[in-house]
Symmetry: C2
Subunit: 472 residues, 2 copies
Amino acid sequence: MTPDEFRRHGRQVVDWIADYLESLESRPVRSQVRPGEVRAALPSAPPERGEPYEQVLADLDRVLLPGITHWQHPSFFAYFPANASGPAILGDLLSSGLGVQGMLWATSPACTELETVVVDWLARLLDLPAALRTDSAGGGVIQDTASSASLVALLAAGSRAGGELARRTVYTSSQTHSSLEKACRIAGIAPGNLRVVDVDPRTLALDPEHLRSLVSADVAQGAVPTLVCATIGTTGTTAIDPVRRIGEICREHGGWLHVDAAYAGVSAVCPELRWINDGVADYADSYVTNPHKWLLTNFDCSVLWLRDRRPMIEALSILPEYLRNAATLSGQVIDYRDWQIPLGRRFRALKLWSVIRWYGAEGLREHIRGHIRLADEFAGLVAADEEFVLWEHHPFGLVCFRPRWPGLPIQDANEATIALLERLNDSGELYLSHTKDTEHVLLRLAVGAPSTGREHVHAAWRVIRDTYAAMA
Amino acid sequence: MTPDEFRRHGRQVVDWIADYLESLESRPVRSQVRPGEVRAALPSAPPERGEPYEQVLADLDRVLLPGITHWQHPSFFAYFPANASGPAILGDLLSSGLGVQGMLWATSPACTELETVVVDWLARLLDLPAALRTDSAGGGVIQDTASSASLVALLAAGSRAGGELARRTVYTSSQTHSSLEKACRIAGIAPGNLRVVDVDPRTLALDPEHLRSLVSADVAQGAVPTLVCATIGTTGTTAIDPVRRIGEICREHGGWLHVDAAYAGVSAVCPELRWINDGVADYADSYVTNPHKWLLTNFDCSVLWLRDRRPMIEALSILPEYLRNAATLSGQVIDYRDWQIPLGRRFRALKLWSVIRWYGAEGLREHIRGHIRLADEFAGLVAADEEFVLWEHHPFGLVCFRPRWPGLPIQDANEATIALLERLNDSGELYLSHTKDTEHVLLRLAVGAPSTGREHVHAAWRVIRDTYAAMA
């Protein structure tokens, strides 16, 4: 494709996206296709001859769009929404257009140095401790996901802990994201050495006394407590683990405190929410938050900070002949390949830079506050309806709740809630997901799409209430 | 940013990229900045108020471009070039614009099903065995990099091998990509259990007899041979390991044969190059190749195929409550989250689909053949010059060679070659990298940028020869 053809088709694609964003609301939120339907509509063999780009766009409309669940739809309330925004999409486009590979400083210095600048910017925006910024012994790095970031933290923790792999123990709660269990499997932590700490059944936050007793028993048996994961804003209900008390226990036994704030961490752009990070400055060895979850930056963009980068580099650095270069050997530069699982890396910093510059700190705060206001408003609607039970804890954009189903035993009520969820999602009018507290299935309504307004939240509540009324 | 603002700035960015591509040749290939220069030119604190997008683009020109090493420059011959092309950039843009997250089939069925279709297309284009396509017990998946793909293969191999982690052994050669050693570290393979197999000093291909003796000795001591990596097109010199003979040894002892064809694999779009895959159909348990290296698809796009997906899913699948859904529980769909390290995933299939449709099989073959012709032409220039020694093996786009430095002992000659390399790269006129055979530093000239033509290869040779003449 020549640069001139690229100009022409590039405009078509930009217009296609703008049209898509404008038409989003008229589409069903969750795709209505059945398994295999999209695949069956596509040829099983690739084309022998090239085709005009218009045909690609036509098939996108005809075949793919019906199979898309619209994550940017204003009534997408499932999981945590994957944020996107114009400047993020454009930053990503610039990254694709430049096509640089930032594995080493030397392979494109600006790719590395802009990343250093923006992760430091984000640390300032969130008022994270200076010890996590790059001028300290630590620093930040952009990863694809919090899954990968947590795996990197686990490997760094293992490198610091030393000793036999088979003796290393890791501590999470039942509410910790499943990616920590996956990281343990990948890193060869023995399945029996992943300890699941109890939670307070009222808040679903990790119980530090139980953590302390587990760690003490393990140490007594010769285990090496390697990493404890504290979550600020769990995936299920946005519970907040007591980071400070967990940090004290880590300090006593030398364990690495990893703070998973994948969803909620970015909300600290607002000073009134910085209480969520209590204990981080004193105790966190690593901290991860995802601008792609709630800071207007399209997937993938997860930022991991470490207090000390050395154990990570020790765990991950290998220097074959073909990567040797004067800048690396000088020790004056960062090679972010040693801060991640893969070798190659995209220029992801461009999209975060684009977002922060376009919105400014002010715009980012307004974005977060707007969603929290909407979530509060929705919670108010639920609380005012005696047919529903509100999960009281909702400091962010997520509201959990459940219908009462009067007269039904818990198991039946849970099944009825799942049936309600399926019926709601099948309608295409909104998309919710679910979780469980210690007993009940809860519906999750996460306000997070940038296009969501008051009208969408109120419409969601009407559909939920009416559908429940029809079923109850 | 409103859809209309996005339209306006989107056109600016598309034009910026087209202008960039048109002006590439006038820029120095390798960035000329010193460590810290880009960072020092950017503010250390983020902006409080949002800024116009024009300012972002202005800073891109003023601050970032001087710090960019231009991977798409026609005289970029270092590493393996990271391919990009118009349709790939546009496919990536569509992915960013849609903003879907394909962790589960249910979270956007088209994201999963298009991926299934395009990885099967690519398997057909490369004439890979039908056992690697999705209708078999195996199937393909797009990963970010071959590093991650190899890690997934290693975890699947471990899951199939069973037994204690501490007994598992892995076999690579000194020419195997460093990502395999990194994967072993990540997955907790004991450092002493990564065996480095000898290579034939003449071809740098893995010596199967040495592999056999290592495996036998390990088995005799109770080890569990878990994975052998055979490379088709090593990073250093594009050596080709004897896949068939390695496969026979794997078959005897139950080890998993992972074929790393990250760079060279895509060249099998040309029937005349399919000999490189001899043995794959009979023995490979997994096979990885990177469209982002040599198939016009911008980074990141690495395709991993497996003959049996079950051990991988067993190694990587975890189903927490918030991810449960009817489609997953039905067993009728693929959830690619279980085929990779992270949970979340981008809609990468769009760019590969765009590329295959725009170029067609015919265009992809012409792309590969053109580069091989240029590499052959360059090799001819080197071979005809008695001041230089050509590395005879160059079936793909990479040519390795070294100056003779008559009279210098090997160590001094190697230092002189590195000094020549630095001087060439400092010139900004071309960008090369290097490797080592068993004794000598070799210069690597990899033809791979889609914009590279005869004139660039001849110009490169003139600069190399003249610079050497000035130094010798």
